[in-house]
């Protein structure tokens, strides 16, 4: 009796030290990874509010050596450039998300309907494109032949549909009891009405997650712009940032517009400040949307 009791005590203490050790190591590891995830943001932010000359002398640091807002002043001396890029991106995100979400859901709705005879054939028709594609060049030529060069549609169309999103949405619809649509049908409602009036409102959780995915794709896209856009008024945010980092031409345009010689411009901190201006909104909305994102993702993962 006494033996076994002390035995349990011993096991319990072992378990406790185990747990403690695990917790300590666990928090240190996770904390270190989180810190690493955060550091690049902090360095960029700090660099953007450093005096350009101090950056050249002392390098990128976590805490600015000489505080200065000269880079931001330079950006907002010609606000029309950044405002223009913002306008393109916001228009793109809003129109792309609304249209893409509606079309994705509508397609998924049809494919989920058991009474739709060709649903498997059409599902395969969409799915096959994830297995085989013609590659970049033929696709590019199709876009060019449609006259999409330097048009807003060249930015909008490529991300309108993603097979992955259609599949997630279809899975979600399959979880809705069929009786819902059937009773409405008896009352004389058409398919489109049932989809818009009944299915869309109760699918908000799935719609918000996929909408977030679509919005993020549009917000972060630089690629379509690089391929198809040369007109300055159609350049979205990310491609604007890319050009600032990768071409001298961008600095020269600023010089021309502000009348400030390139040599005197805070060119390095200008790049960093632009990164902050481009990334800022994402970081600001991030805490609010993150929740939906995680929720939707886990639902999708469990259901396959």
């Amino acid at each position: 009796m006494r033996y076994s009791r002390s035995g349990t005590v011993a096991v319990n203490t072992i378990k406790k030290t185990d747990k403690l050790a695990f917790n300590v190591i666990g928090y240190v590891v996770l904390g270190a990874i989180s810190l690493l995830c955060l550091v690049p943001f902090l360095i960029t932010l700090s660099g953007s509010v450093t005096k350009d000359s101090a950056l050249f002398e002392y390098g990128y640091r976590l805490i600015p050596k000489m505080f200065s807002l000269e880079a931001y002043e330079l950006i907002f001396r010609t606000p029309e450039v950044i405002v223009g890029a913002y306008t393109v991106t916001i228009l793109l995100v809003v129109s792309g998300t609304v249209l893409g979400l509606f079309l994705t859901a509508m397609t998924a709705y049809v494919l989920h309907r058991r009474d739709f005879k060709y649903r498997n054939k059409f599902s395969f028709f969409f799915f096959f494109t994830t297995l085989f594609s013609g590659g970049l060049v033929p696709w590019y030529l199709v876009m060019i032949n449609l006259g999409l060069k330097n048009s807003f549609l060249a930015l909008l169309l490529p991300h309108l549909f993603a097979v992955f999103h259609i599949i997630i949405m279809r899975t979600f619809f399959t979880g809705i009891p069929e009786s819902l649509g059937e009773s409405a049908k008896i009352d004389g409602a058409g398919d489109l009405t049932i989809f818009v009036r009944l299915y869309l409102p109760i699918s908000l959780p799935a719609l918000s997650t996929i909408g977030l995915f679509i919005a993020l794709t549009y917000w972060n896209d630089w690629y379509q712009a690089m391929l198809f856009i040369t007109k300055p008024s159609l350049i979205p945010l990310q491609y604007h940032l890319y050009k600032i980092f990768n071409s001298m031409e961008a600095a020269q345009i600023v010089a021309q517009k502000t009348g400030m010689p390139v040599a005197q411009m805070p060119t390095e901190t200008f790049k960093l400040a632009m990164t902050v201006v481009v990334t800022g909104p994402i970081i600001l909305v991030y805490p609010f949307v993150q929740k939906y994102f995680v929720k939707g993702m886990t639902v999708g993962a469990v259901k396959g």
Partner: protein, 293 residues
Amino acid sequence: MLFLMLTPAVVYFIIFHYVPMGGVIVAFKYFEFDKGILHSPWVGFKNFSFFFESGQAWLLTKNTILYNLAFILVGMVFQVGVAILFSELGGKRIKKFLQSTMLLPYFISWVVVGSFVYGIFNYEFGSLNTLLRTLGMDPVDIYGNPSVWFFIIVGFYLWKLIGYGSIVYLAAIMGINPELYESAELDGANIFQRIRYITLPLLKVTIVIMILLQVGGILRGNLDMFYQLVGNNGLLFNTTDVIDTFVFRALYQQGLDLGMPAAAGLYQSAVGFVIIISLNYIIKKVNPDYALF
């Protein structure tokens, strides 16, 4: 009515996916813009032989596959590891905070990541060299040193996707019946034993499926990432160029000779297709539960 509702998607996929599939004939032509795809002269397999004989095909294939293998392996180890830590640790608020910071990189564009990489590694005033100088050491020229880029790219792949990937695995862990853990605890299993004998075996299905999905796309390179981190820095191409960046550069820079990049793209698509079909066929034979489709 259902047909009508499906029309936009069908038309879209025909124009932007199936017509380009037919357009692969460009790979067998000497493409001239003014003549268009149909009227450009045929050249047989000349574009392919040029692509293979230049030695490019082998290098690009090797790079693409090696990078993807590294992504699959390193990604899995870290993402599963982080997911297990999150599932076992207490402290809801701290965990939520840590999870949020890890997911943050997923939300920003590769252009921004590229700017971060430049900020850390550029020779004159990057953070790394600033640190080295402070410590009294010699600065290093990362952008002139191809051999370290494998690690940088894999590192930033991990950096961007560790939060996202671990959420997928965490969801799978959360789906495990908690009674299993309770009874194991009653039987005297410690935390490491529980992970080893409950969590890992039950995560196997998710892990295998995730790996298979990635292996199916082993010839696809993430252009977004490679192009934004390396750009047009030819010094680094030997260790960083993948099929996708090669095709993209050819298209973007020359804009004229499209036959060879089209051939490279078709080679990638066709071999990738064979890989994924045979992979799925084998899986179906071995264990149908894991089949991709």
